[in-house]
């Protein structure tokens, strides 16, 4: 149980990486942007990859009537996500410690993982909703208004994961270091559970 407790502590502690590294990154590439514009999405806000990228993305987006990239105080998520992540990391570490001293069953680890997975899916769902809103709720006075072959307004929603062509830009949306650390951490908690099960049998 000692080892599995340690693995649980390390695994859930890796979540704390999200406070230092971005969760996600969206890059916009176009012929006239040989250095792509990019934004790093942290749990507490969005930052440009280069200092003025956000300003320049907003500048380009105003042609199609997109809203400005939100500041941290403009989205409740940026206040809530750090609390959730911090709380889950703390809880995981606590469970790990209890597990280390043999106070609890390893099934608690699985419980933590299930809860974390549900929260993660909810988070992604919320993120995707924001992307849809951002890509479709456009200013009616937009300078450029484009429609698809059926006459519906084009959606400029960047992909949740992967690359997609949006007008002259190609948008690339991929997880970043923070997310990878989280995935590894979650996988480790699974290992902790399996390990714990095996040694307590």
């Amino acid at each position: 149980m000692k080892t599995s407790g340690l693995i649980m502590i390390v695994g859930s502690a890796l979540l704390l990486g999200l406070f230092f590294y971005p969760l996600w990154n969206i890059k916009l590439e176009a012929p006239q942007y040989p250095d792509p514009l990019g934004m790093d999405i942290y749990i507490a806000g969005i930052e440009g990859e280069e200092e003025f990228d956000i300003q320049n993305i907003d500048g380009i987006n105003h042609y199609i009537g997109m809203k400005k990239i939100p500041k941290p105080e403009e989205m409740w998520e940026f206040n809530t996500f750090p609390l959730v992540i911090g709380g889950m990391a703390g809880l995981g570490i606590l469970l790990g410690i209890l597990g280390f001293f043999g106070k609890i069953s390893p099934n608690w680890f699985l419980g933590w993982l299930v809860l974390m997975t549900i929260l993660g899916i909810l988070g992604m769902y919320d993120f995707n909703n924001w992307l849809i809103d951002y890509g479709t709720d456009l200013d009616p006075k937009a300078i450029i208004k484009l429609t698809d072959s059926e006459g519906n307004p084009l959606s400029y929603k960047p992909p949740l994961l992967g690359s997609e062509k949006i007008l002259n830009f190609t948008a690339h949306s991929y997880p970043q270091t923070g997310a990878y650390l989280m995935f590894i951490g979650m996988f480790l908690t699974l290992v902790a559970w399996i390990w714990g099960k095996r040694t307590t049998k």
Binding site: D35, E51, F52, Q55, N56, G59, Y63, I143, I144
Partner: protein, 655 residues
């Protein structure tokens, strides 16, 4: 079976050898064949999107500017305005940059730029700044190689024909400016034919600070010869500066003939370290002077002129062992020092030979007081004692020499129109290649430093004739690019240049590229009339002057409707570009403005004035195609009658 294997092996092995040999043969063909036979096109071809290996900065001569080229492609990348008004960007027209062209003679809108030289550290080009001289109204400019803009221009008082300039010492301690047209020192009204003995040729040593700021340290009151070109010592000869002279005859008229009578003129050797020490210890006399010192500040985006009124004058005879003359045949033009600092080459322009002096022999001759006379009490060293060697029959009319760092020197011959390669030490001619036509200067990147980057050489020619499609009587000059990595020079490329390039300076792109600025930061903009956001835009009346604080962003002006301006007003448009994205300038042009446009870089503020003469509603617009909505980037100014009561009003989108 074993035997068979080894036979097979030998057979295969020899096959390999044969094919390797073939490869080698191809390579030798490549480097020894002429341009036609070789893959010259491939070697100068820089594929779309790729960068050149070297920057080359070519003086614009009578354009007054400096042009930036890439090598080996020969593509022109930029023209940097320095001594001439440049309506393309508004340089010399905008309120901010007009002071750059102030002199003691007032505003001078044009200049004749000659010899660019890149700042050095430990004798190597370091890519911080490039200096260039103005020959006509003597000045030296310093251009930043981060912004590629002229940051500072200092006028050289008491000088005329600022030609033997602007060369830097090996740690950029000094940038040096000479006098090609001897003049009364200080200026005074006197008969011209009393020139001899009464004119002087001051040499000016300008100290360069760590921030690049220039400051005249001292002027050396040399005899009234014509100081034609110069170069600093380096390595062992660091601390000395060498100047070629002509007209040691001191002829004041028909110099074509009268200044060509002496068989030998001089190379003046100046121990500037000694003089520097002398001045630091209080030596020299303060004399009256009047000269403009113009400095451009990147945070205010504004230049200011300070008129200076004193300069320290040093009589060379007052500093023991500081100045000597080395006799050099045939009105030497270029004065070039090899990478080791040992050889000083005098390019005797009216002869077929080059005279090379030895620095170490010069020191010995000085020590032995091996003098053959004096000129105005300055010792003349024995010609035979300083002579290292003569390059015989190199060609006709040698002008300038550069070095490849591999023991070879390359000299241009104007009259015989060729570049000649010769060996330092043995003085034998190794190769000669024609130039098209009548080559003046040549340039090897770093070719006048301790560490030349001896891969390419460019020749800059005075005559173009039939090299390109004809464009009427006036043609751009031509330049040629040679590969100098082989035993023989190979002509690779021929390209037109702008103005009249006199000298050029080259440097590995790597030493500059990464430092090149992309934008000016808006949050560092301290311009007095900047509006750093649309909410700060406004109009202010001050008597007849109306100041408009305006911004640009893709793609509108704020404000774009201006009212309350009257005939007889002077309107100052202070335009700030709010963009913080690389390569998104905006332009500003006002109908009927008696000045140029403005081209404003991201984060920058520039100002032009407009004095409306007629009532009406007059448009202005953006001149740089900034976005898909560029055509819409326009606005109106309402001009009312002299005595109207229309209040100042500025709006954007009705607000």
């Amino acid at each position: 079976m074993k035997k068979f294997n080894s036979i097979l092996f030998i057979a295969l092995f020899s096959l390999l050898l044969v094919s390797c040999g073939d490869e080698n043969n191809k390579d030798t063909n490549r480097s020894s064949g002429g341009a036609m036979a070789s893959n010259a096109a491939e070697r100068v071809y820089v594929a779309p999107g790729e960068h050149d290996e070297f920057y080359a900065f070519l003086s614009g001569g009578y354009s007054g500017n400096l042009t930036v080229y890439g090598l080996p492609s020969g593509r022109m990348l930029k023209e940097i305005p320095v001594f001439s008004q440049f309506p393309t960007s508004g340089y010399g027209y905008s309120e901010e940059t007009k002071p750059m062209l102030n002199t003691s003679h007032g505003f001078v809108p044009w200049g004749d730029s000659h010899h660019p030289d890149i700042s050095q550290t430990n004798g190597e080009t370091d890519g911080r700044w490039i200096f260039i001289n103005e020959n006509n109204t003597p000045r030296i400019a310093r251009i930043s190689l981060e912004t590629f803009e002229t940051e500072e221009i200092i006028e050289i008082p008491h000088s005329a024909g600022n030609h033997s300039s602007s060369f830097v010492t090996e740690n950029t301690e000094y940038v040096v400016a000479g006098t090609r047209f001897a003049v009364p020192y200080p200026q005074k009204d006197m008969p011209i034919d009393e020139m001899k003995g009464n004119f002087k040729g001051p040499l000016t040593f300008i100290a360069v600070g760590d921030d690049g700021k220039m400051n005249i340290d001292f002027q050396l009151a040399m005899p009234g010869f014509n100081y034609d070109l110069s170069h600093p010592g380096r390595g062992d000869s660091h601390g000395w500066f060498f100047f070629t002279t002509y007209n040691t005859e001191e002829a004041h008229t028909m110099q074509e003939v009268n200044a060509s009578q002496n068989d030998k003129d001089f190379i003046a050797a100046v121990n500037w370290k000694k003089i520097q020490e002398y001045v630091r210890n209080g030596g020299g006399e303060q004399m009256d002077a009047e000269y403009a010192h113009n400095v451009y500040d990147h945070s205010t985006h504004t230049a200011t002129t300070t008129m200076e009124n004193k300069v320290t004058r040093v009589d060379p005879r007052d500093v023991e062992g500081a100045v000597f003359f080395m006799p050099t045949p045939k009105s030497p033009h270029g004065c070039d020092v090899d990478p080791s600092g040992e050889y000083i080459v005098g390019n005797g322009k009216l002869s077929t030979d080059l005279t090379v002096h030895s620095f170490s022999k010069m020191l010995k001759a000085i020590e032995n007081e091996d003098f053959t006379g004096e000129a105005y009490d300055i010792p003349i060293l024995n010609f035979d004692s300083t002579l290292a060697g003569t390059v015989k029959e190199g060609g006709l009319g040698p002008l300038h020499t550069e070095f490849d760092g591999k023991g070879n020197a390359y000299t241009t011959f104007f009259i015989s129109s060729e570049v000649v390669k010769w060996k330092l030490g043995t003085w034998e001619v190794l190769d000669r290649q024609p130039s098209y036509y009548s080559v003046g200067h040549l340039m090897i990147p770093g070719g006048n430093s301790r560490k030349p980057e001896g891969k390419y050489l460019i020749s800059m020619n005075k005559i173009t004739k039939d090299r390109y499609l004809p464009t009427g009587p006036e043609l751009e000059h031509s330049a040629q690019l040679y590969d100098i990595t082989g035993d023989k020079m190979e002509l690779l490329l021929d390209f037109p240049t702008h103005g009249e390039p006199h000298y050029a300076a080259g440097i590995s792109a790597d030493r500059i590229k990464a430092n090149s600025k992309k934008i000016y930061r808006l949050d560092e903009n301290e311009h007095k009339y900047a509006a750093t956001s649309e909410s700060e835009t406004k109009m202010e009346r001050d008597g007849n002057n109306v100041h408009v604080y305006m911004t640009t962003v893709r793609s509108h002006f704020a404000p774009d409707n201006l009212e309350g301006i009257k005939v007889g007003d002077k309107v100052f448009f202070h335009v700030t570009n709010l963009e913080q994205d690389f390569d998104v300038p905006h332009g500003f042009a006002m109908i009927g403005a008696n000045t140029s446009e403005l081209l404003i870089m991201p984060g920058q503020t520039k100002t032009i004035t407009w004095e409306p003469k007629k009532e009406g509603v007059w448009p202005f617009y953006c001149t740089d195609f900034c976005s898909a909505l560029h055509q819409e980037m326009q606005g109106y100014v309402r001009v009312s009658g002299k005595n109207s009561n229309v209040p100042l009003k500025w709006t954007l989108d009705g607000e």
